[in-house]
Symmetry: C2
Subunit: 230 residues, 2 copies
């Protein structure tokens, strides 16, 4: 029979559902029907309901008692709000990092910047994206505050698809790289406020640059393609 479609279990379901939402296969407001999704994934309702709860905690779906689970895509305003918070969390990471960063982490950050330069040179946005990811994750660690690192990573992850859109904008990659350089320079000089400001700006720019993408976003409220991986 054609049951080969599925067979994933547990948090496999969660991840798969998350992708369906993020890629836009499931539109804003869509009701997540337990039985149809269950047979689609080849599992029972139980793992699905657990996935719903996890996704609700992430803010991707809204759970209404006795009514069901509904896809919750962030409105444009909400995205701007999230970037506003993200900017501040990263700024805090930077401020703390100037005091707490270790030599190896600083060296690793250096490497990512060099790798980013190569990516920009090759106009390889995929690679730039990967290295940018690394840069930020390292920075979260460098803050020396595990809770902060977790929260930052959580929000970062939630904004991932939208950040990816940004890189498509002309010149954004090079600009981003330059901002990375400024952050790194501030860290090396130990200027905490400069580092914080550079990071706040680095992230906030993405939020404000969103106006440029607004039009396309409006008609297809989800990132259309190429963000389904990792």
């Amino acid at each position: 029979m054609n049951t080969r479609r599925a067979d994933r279990r547990a948090d496999g379901v969660r991840h798969e559902l998350e992708q369906l939402i993020l890629t836009g296969d499931l539109a804003d407001g869509d009701r997540l029907d337990e039985v149809s999704l269950a047979e689609r994934f080849g599992c029972s309702r139980t793992p699905l309901r657990e996935a719903f709860q996890a996704l609700a905690a992430s803010g991707l779906v809204q759970l209404i008692p006795h009514r069901g689970a509904f896809v919750r895509h962030p409105a444009f305003e909400e995205l701007v709000e999230m970037f506003e918070v993200m900017a501040e969390l990263e700024a805090l990471c930077g401020r703390l990092a100037t005091r707490r960063i270790t030599r190896p982490l600083l060296a690793a950050l250096h490497e990512t910047v060099i790798a980013c330069e190569a990516a920009v040179h090759d106009a390889d946005s995929d690679r730039y994206y990967a290295e940018n990811e690394r840069f930020h994750m390292l920075l979260y660690q460098a803050g020396g505050n595990r809770f902060l690192a977790d929260e930052a990573a959580r929000l970062h992850r939630r904004l991932k698809p939208f950040r990816r859109m940004q890189l498509q904008v002309r010149g954004r990659m090079a600009q981003s790289l330059d901002e990375h350089r400024q952050v790194l320079a501030a860290l090396e000089r130990g200027e905490s406020e400069a580092a914080a400001d550079a990071l706040r700006n680095h992230v906030a720019v993405q939020g404000s640059k969103f106006n440029d993408l607004m039009a396309s976003y409006r008609r297809s409220p989800l990132v259309p393609a190429a963000m389904g991986r990792s």
Copy 2:
């Protein structure tokens, strides 16, 4: 029979479990046994498992696949880290609020400060606690960033038991009130950085003041009493 103990369902279970953890009836590292808790609450395993997931999302329990759910109380360091982040979130609220706050909200903030003064005068820590809560919630709203408000409220809620401990420290109430006044004054003058700094300090103080409580905390890692309500 003696089944009268329970009979609550669904998120009632979630809330009750949360209280058990917060009050310290369930100690750090305790395994949450599904069957025994099920009969304790007079329900089946299903609602319990859902509650586990919700609590895991809040960070109160750790979910290990095929092993079970374990109570996760924040270590002292982690608490300090959480206050560090909370301070920054509130600072951001304050900075934004100077630009965005509405007249009614400003008036409401005024009222809470007055109510706090009365509470301090009466040495009524319960009332002070309630009004302090109101002050901060209003502030989160005043930031004009709903996402930020939600996140701040979430963390605020998570730190609730520990903040409550603080008020027991001699003189803390009066000091806290004074800090509230400074925040409000900065907001009224529209000085965003002053407001941010005042709030950052107001919260950070709580984190650092924690050293004073460390000894007692060490031997009973949970807030011992009087924080189970609301």
